[in-house]
Structure formats: C-alpha cells, structure tokens
Subunit: 327 residues, 2 copies
Amino acid sequence: MPEPVVLVLDADPSPRLGRLTGRARVLRTDAAGLAARLPESDVLLVWDFTSDAVREAWPGEGRRPRWVHTASAGVDRLLCPELVASDTVLTNARGIFERPIAEYVAGLVLAFAKDLPTTLALQRERRWHHREGQQVAGSRAVVVGAGPIGREITRLLHGLGVQVALVGRSARRTIHGVEDLGPLAARADWVISAVPLTPSTYGMFDTRFFGLLQPSARFINVGRGASVVEADLVQALNRRWLAGAALDVFAAEPLAPDSPLWDVPGLLVSPHLSGDTVGWRDRLGEQFVAMYELWADGGPLPNVVDKQRGYVPSTDNSAEEEGASPE
Amino acid sequence: MPEPVVLVLDADPSPRLGRLTGRARVLRTDAAGLAARLPESDVLLVWDFTSDAVREAWPGEGRRPRWVHTASAGVDRLLCPELVASDTVLTNARGIFERPIAEYVAGLVLAFAKDLPTTLALQRERRWHHREGQQVAGSRAVVVGAGPIGREITRLLHGLGVQVALVGRSARRTIHGVEDLGPLAARADWVISAVPLTPSTYGMFDTRFFGLLQPSARFINVGRGASVVEADLVQALNRRWLAGAALDVFAAEPLAPDSPLWDVPGLLVSPHLSGDTVGWRDRLGEQFVAMYELWADGGPLPNVVDKQRGYVPSTDNSAEEEGASPE
C-alpha cells in the first residue's frame, strides 16, 4: 500500500514533520496551488490558518482528503457547505492554546485593574502621579464561550479570587445558558469573549449588549473578531458606556493601518497573539504528528469538529462544550 | 480619667476617626507642628507616612506617646535610636497591603511575559506586528522577603503555575535562607523584592547581584527603593544582563523629573502605588480605630513591630517572618 499523501497548506516557518518519514508522503503548497493538489491528497494539514484558501478551493472537482486538520482552535475560516456535507473528518488544535490565552486574559484584567497603560504613558512624560488601583479579588467576570479556552480562563480568574460566571449556548451544571448573559453582564466588571464564530455568535456583541454594561466594566475579546460589531464598540467606548476594552481579534486581520480602532481611547489593540507563546509552532507540529500516527494506525482521532456546529463538542459525557476559537 | 490624646500626623485626605468620639481627643498636625505636640500626646497615628517627620521630631524634649501606629507596612522612615530604645509600642498596617501588592506583581509578571508594553507602543504606531509571548506557568520566580507581603506574592504566583522560591533572612521550613539567594536568582525568570529596609537589606541588589541573573530575567521591586543600588540596575539593564525591571519604589520619592530612571530601556517606573487600591485609606482608618479600641480597653495590640529588627515578627509560632515594607 502506498504511503498516504499529506498535503500541507504551508506557512513560514513550516511544520517539522520529519517523524512522518516512511509513513507519509508530504507535499507542500501555498493557497494558489491548493485546489490542484486536493484530489491527490489523503490528509490536509492547514498550517496556514489565516486565509480562506480551504473554503475557496474545496468546492472544486475531484477526490477530497479524508481528513483535514487545522493548526488552530477556530474552524470558521475553513467551513464551506461542501466540506460540511462531506464525509471528511475535520480536527482542530484543542489543547495548545488554552493556557496561553487564559494567561493573556488574566494579564489584561490585572493591567486594567492596576491602570498599567496610564502608568506607562505617565512614565513617558516623566510624571510621578499616584493613583489608586482596583482590587481584582472579589471583582465579577462573565466569560462567554464554555469551550476549553473559556473554561481555562474561568479557572485562572477564579484562582485570582474573581467571581466568574461562565456562559455557554445552553445551561448545564455550572454553566449558564446564553439567556443569562444580559443580567450577568449588567453587573460584571469584566466581560470576556472566547466564543467560536458561528451564525449564532456573529455580531452578538453590539450596541444593545454594550448598553447593558456598567460604566466601570471592561470588555475583552480573544475569540473571533466578527462576534463584535466593531463600530458599536467604538461608539460605546466614546460614550463611556464602559471603561475600556481589549481586542486581540478583528473582523479583518491584520488590522489596516488606517483602521479607526487603533486610537480609540480606552481600547487596547493586539495583533492576534494571545495564544501564541514561544514554542507554540513546535507544539502544533508535534500534535499533528501524534494525531497522524493514530490515524494511520486506524485509531479514532481526538479533537473532531462537529462541522454543523462549528466547534468540537465535549469528549467526556459531562457537558456539551463550545470550542472557543482563537487562532 | 481624661480621654487619651490621639495625635494624627495628617495628610489629605484625613482618616475618618468619628468612631473615636467620646473615647479619644483627636489632634491633628503637620510635620512642622509635630515636635511641639508630641509631649501632650498618648498615641501618635502616622497617617502621612511619606516623610521623615517622626524620625526628626522624636528625639526632642518632653514626654512621648506610649503607642505609635503607622498607616504603612514599612517602618524604616520612623525609626530613630531614641524611638527604638524607648518603651513606646510601634505598630504597622499589616493586613491591608498584601493582596493588592501581590496582584500588582502578578500583573507585572504577566505584562512582561506577554510583552504588553510593546503591544501598547506598536498600537500608538498603528503597527500590526505579531510576536510570541512567554508562558508564565512553569516559569521560575524568587521572592525575596518572607513577610506577609512576600508570602502573598508567593501564593498568587504559585496559583498561576509559577515555581516560586521564597527567601527570608534565615532558612526555616519552606523558606530559603538568604545564603540560597544567589543560586536561586541565577536560574529565575522573575526576581521579586518585598524586603523591608534594614541595615542588612540596604543596597543588597547591586552589580554583583544583577550579574548573577539570566539575560531573560526580570527584576521587580515592591519593597523599599534603597534596597536597590539604582545606578547598578541601570547599568545592568543597559548591558542587557537582564531583560527588564519594574520599580514601584525608589531611594528618593517622588522620583525627580530629571531622574535618569524614567527612560531606561526595559525599566518600568510606577509611583509607589502597588498596594493602593480604591478604599485603601478607609481600610487603614478602620484598622487604626479597631486597634485603638483594643488599646483603650487595655488589650494587647496586634502588628507590633520589633523595633530592633525593623519589622513585625511572626505572631504565630510557625516561623519567624520578615515584614515586607511597601507603603
């Protein structure tokens, strides 16, 4: 039996796949070459997860890979009706991004509470100006998105003494249903989004939502940019409906140099890096190799995405999960 | 019996001492009037803890208060030989600053790990530049100063998954003696000082010490400024002996506008605010009132400073503690 063909939608730096030598024939392509290579491939590794190349190339002619793995948590940029309807198995990088993103969120919460951006600005002006910070312990957070990333954020903030409510699609056990989001957000100091991008989360953070918040609240998005109506957030910040916000993800990335988002008072902009800590690409490559070995041996794959829902449902039986989706 | 006289070395805003009505006669003074009022006072509340007024006024003529309470953790600015030798009881504000300072340190650690200052600088330039952060979980910290503040910092960092070694004056139980500081610092990602200012901590962080650190290490001082030889830290940062530092305390405060410390690359300067969260002055006032009621009833006072050592020794029998000293 010939070696299966693994097609890599490549990006710089490439994944290290040396361990697959003798077990797979590895081909690499860029977005332009993807459509032509799909019919000859058994497996597609979406190493460059920052484009719409898969969604655009998939609907064409010919055979399709039996398995697609994306080196990201979110799958929104891959899904097209033809892929959803196919028998192809789609997996994601669950397990890699949870802790870094949770640390990033905890860092933002503490930086806001201690007013670190103002401290840095005053330092540039050589001004000694004492201010009072906020105590994080005892403050209230709502984490929206009950997937592994939202749950790790919840765990870490809880460890800092924050009272955290976790909101998922539907209520179960310790998770609130989305119908509780309004009342919870209305008394929260921190609202953190780690939702995947699906039809039901698209544009969910809008003027109506920001109108519910306390003037002292801060909003943090590490999920997907298009869940926020960016113009509504800008307006809400300008009207001081909330005290601040931090966006790590945007409807269009990279954010254009002339975007109005760069200099909204109270808005912290970061370039989609919350999940990316030193060594992350190596960890993503190792995860794929380990999954490939399972697949080649005929075993079941972990991290299988429910293509209809657009995220990985729970693998245990305790609760349905919503795979939050940074990267 | 006449009401005891409580003299307040005042600052704006004044403490709320209404609960003492009928139990004490409250007098207020500034630094200039302190010496004249000391002989007629039973209790001195050092509400303005930012000057050397007590150390300067104390050695004069006449009777002295039997009890001095400072609304700060550190007592280094109060102590003069005459006060140390006297029967006067000195107490501090243990219990107020621990958690805020620990949160502040955790915020700095996360901000450094996630390179937040660079993110803010790039945002001002409207530049989308992806970088990799560091994972805090699994990193190594040394906390110097095993008083309640150092121990709270240790607890909070441990909760973030940091491997923390706590260093005190002498080894006991889970606390390392100062003789371990060098080897521990040499492999630390974070070195955090929460030491009180005493003869043995004065200038302890110097060229010799910074020479031990890893080039990737960061140094954070929330203890007392004079424990750091500031010129040595500047030189070490300029030589890239360490990756960064954050100072919340300085040998001379407020830091002068022409201080070279304001614009050292990699050095974050904050105006002695790590312990000060909204409501802190109210909490300090309430603590003093509660202690006054104990004292007036003849009960023993908590938070009694060992004036020879310059900090509050342990109140339980488990371990000697070193009262760290921000504020």
